[in-house]
């Protein structure tokens, strides 16, 4: 049975698209047929992060409006087998998304995919509502700072009351916390909320902690999801996150400050 997973946060710039790209890629790397949909109509970014921006011909809105078929709009990833991208339209706005159209496209995708990842836009307006409405599970992406945590809290409230599962009184949307841009050094100094602080406020299970990492910016700019960088701390953290999502036990890494050894301190790293 195909699963629809929304990647959402409320606040912008916390790492939804980065997480969507690496999460979808990670699932596909493990052999699951996965599609990642950009719901940010008008502010299309996922294609850049996935490195397929020059291959967009038709988009999500075209499919909703029956101007193109799904097969025409789906972009097959060149690096990972069984990974597809459904890009957003850059020339339209969020009003182009409507429940019936989105539902039809998701139903069609369910026929052939294992996982459908919905990359939500920021905010709680139409685009975000459409991205979360049909979700079975949700990755709530949060930065360790108060405004991001409050916005995530708000999104959790909306998931619990306005999603299809809530409206039809089905089993609630399964929620997962993804804490991104985490910097143990700054937590230690007291500049940043700790994992425990965030967990205490949001009270949902922790799926992964992604450390603040220069690799994320580099990989975004080069159009390679950071999970494919097996050397980078953020890449390893995303691979762990995917494994945990699939039911494996993995302890959380990068939560404490790495003490530099004598030689590392002498010669750098």
């Amino acid at each position: 049975m195909a699963k629809i997973i929304v990647v959402t946060s409320g606040k912008g710039g916390v790492g939804k698209t980065t997480t969507s790209a690496s999460f979808a890629t990670g699932l596909a790397l493990r052999g699951h047929k996965t599609v990642v949909i950009d719901f940010d109509v008008g502010l299309r970014n996922l294609d850049l992060i996935m490195g397929c921006e020059r291959r967009v011909v038709y988009d999500f809105v075209n499919v909703i409006n029956n101007e193109a078929t799904l097969n025409q709009a789906l972009i097959k990833d060149k690096r990972v087998e069984s990974l597809y991208v459904l890009p957003a339209s850059q020339t339209r706005d969020k009003d182009a998304l409507h429940k019936e159209g989105v539902e039809r496209v998701l139903e069609e995708l369910k026929q052939s995919f294992d996982y459908i990842i919905c990359d939500s836009p920021a905010g709680i307006e139409r685009g975000a509502m459409m991205a979360m409405y049909f979700a079975d599970e949700a990755l709530v992406v949060t930065n360790p700072e108060v405004s991001s945590v409050r916005d995530s809290d708000r999104i959790l409230g909306i998931l619990a009351s306005k999603s299809r599962r809530a409206e039809q009184a089905e089993e609630p949307v399964r929620e997962h916390l993804v804490l991104t841009r985490y910097s143990p050094e700054r937590v230690e100094k007291g500049d940043m909320l700790s994992v425990d602080d965030v967990m205490e406020i949001l009270a949902i299970p922790l799926l992964g902690v992604i450390p603040e990492s220069s690799a994320v910016l580099q990989s975004s700019n080069s159009g390679v999801p950071v999970v494919l960088d097996e050397q980078a701390d953020a890449g390893i953290a995303y691979a762990d996150l995917v494994a945990r999502f699939l039911g494996e036990e993995r302890s959380h890494r990068f939560l404490s400050v790495e003490r530099k050894g004598f030689f590392k301190r002498l010669f750098g790293n």
């Binding site: 916005d151 809290d153 959790l156 409230g157 619990a160 406020i201 009270a203």
Partner: protein, 247 residues
């Protein structure tokens, strides 16, 4: 009780006529209503000082509109109007108003009669007899609002910053209270707020409110909050006093 039948009764009931302001409701969008109210207040601020109003539903009576009466009453009260009742609504609307504590006022022209409110059970939710307790198991998140009309509100999860919980009776929070809690919103002076961790933004009992400072009185502790005269008292919910004496 000890008085003899011959003693004068402590009160007597008499009918009387009043001139009341009538608010003719044309739509149910609370945001729009509040906006319009603010405009009116700007025009005549002196008018909005505990002015009793009757909400007339004539314009909505033939529609399926179900105004959020509790929300409406709260907005009116917040702006100096005191809703005392409703009139001219459909049976279902009157039942909903009654559930929110707004009685139907006798009509000034032939329209649905009192029995309309009592037999509304068929097409509306049946009115619960007497006070009742609303229990919420899920966390109350930022931006959410939970109201227990006619009774107490019990919350088993945390109340987040930016959330609002309200009750006509008392509020019991078996977790941290980080948002706003308003007990006795229809004036019940004996209403109390209980919580296991006080980190609230604002607490209120029967309209008397306090904005709480971080690390202020009772912060992070299990407390109860109640009204003593005009003052809101925040008091730890512990047996420490007794325990200290023994040690």
């Amino acid at each position: 009780m000890t008085q003899t039948p011959t003693a004068e009764a402590p009160f007597e009931l008499k009918g009387s006529l009043f001139t009341l302001t009538v608010l003719h409701l044309r739509e149910t969008d609370l945001g729009a209503i509040e906006q319009a109210l603010l405009v009116k207040i700007a025009q005549a601020p002196a008018f909005f000082a505990n002015t009793p109003v009757v909400v007339d539903l004539d314009a909505l009576a033939d529609t399926a509109a179900r105004p959020d009466f509790a929300g409406l009453a709260r907005i009116l009260r917040a702006h100096g109007l005191v809703p005392v009742g409703v009139r001219h609504g459909s049976a279902a609307q009157l039942a909903a108003a009654a559930a929110a504590g707004l009685p139907m006022l006798p009509e000034s022209r032939p329209a649905p009669r009192r029995e309309a409110t009592t037999d509304a059970g068929g097409d509306a939710k049946p009115a619960d007899p007497g006070p009742h307790n609303r229990v919420v198991v899920q966390p109350v998140r930022s931006g959410q609002q939970v109201y227990a009309a006619d009774g107490d509100l019990t919350l088993l999860g945390p109340v987040s910053a930016g959330a609002e919980v309200l009750a006509d009776g008392s509020i019991h929070v078996y977790g941290p209270l980080r948002g706003r809690a308003l007990a006795g919103v229809r004036g019940k002076l004996e209403a109390r707020i209980f919580c296991l961790g006080l980190e609230a933004e604002l607490v209120s009992v029967a309209g008397r409110y306090r904005i709480l400072e971080k690390n202020g009185e009772g912060w992070g502790k299990a407390v109860q909050i109640y009204l003593s005269g005009e003052h809101l008292i925040i008091e730890p919910l512990t047996v420490e006093a007794g325990a200290h004496r023994k040690s």
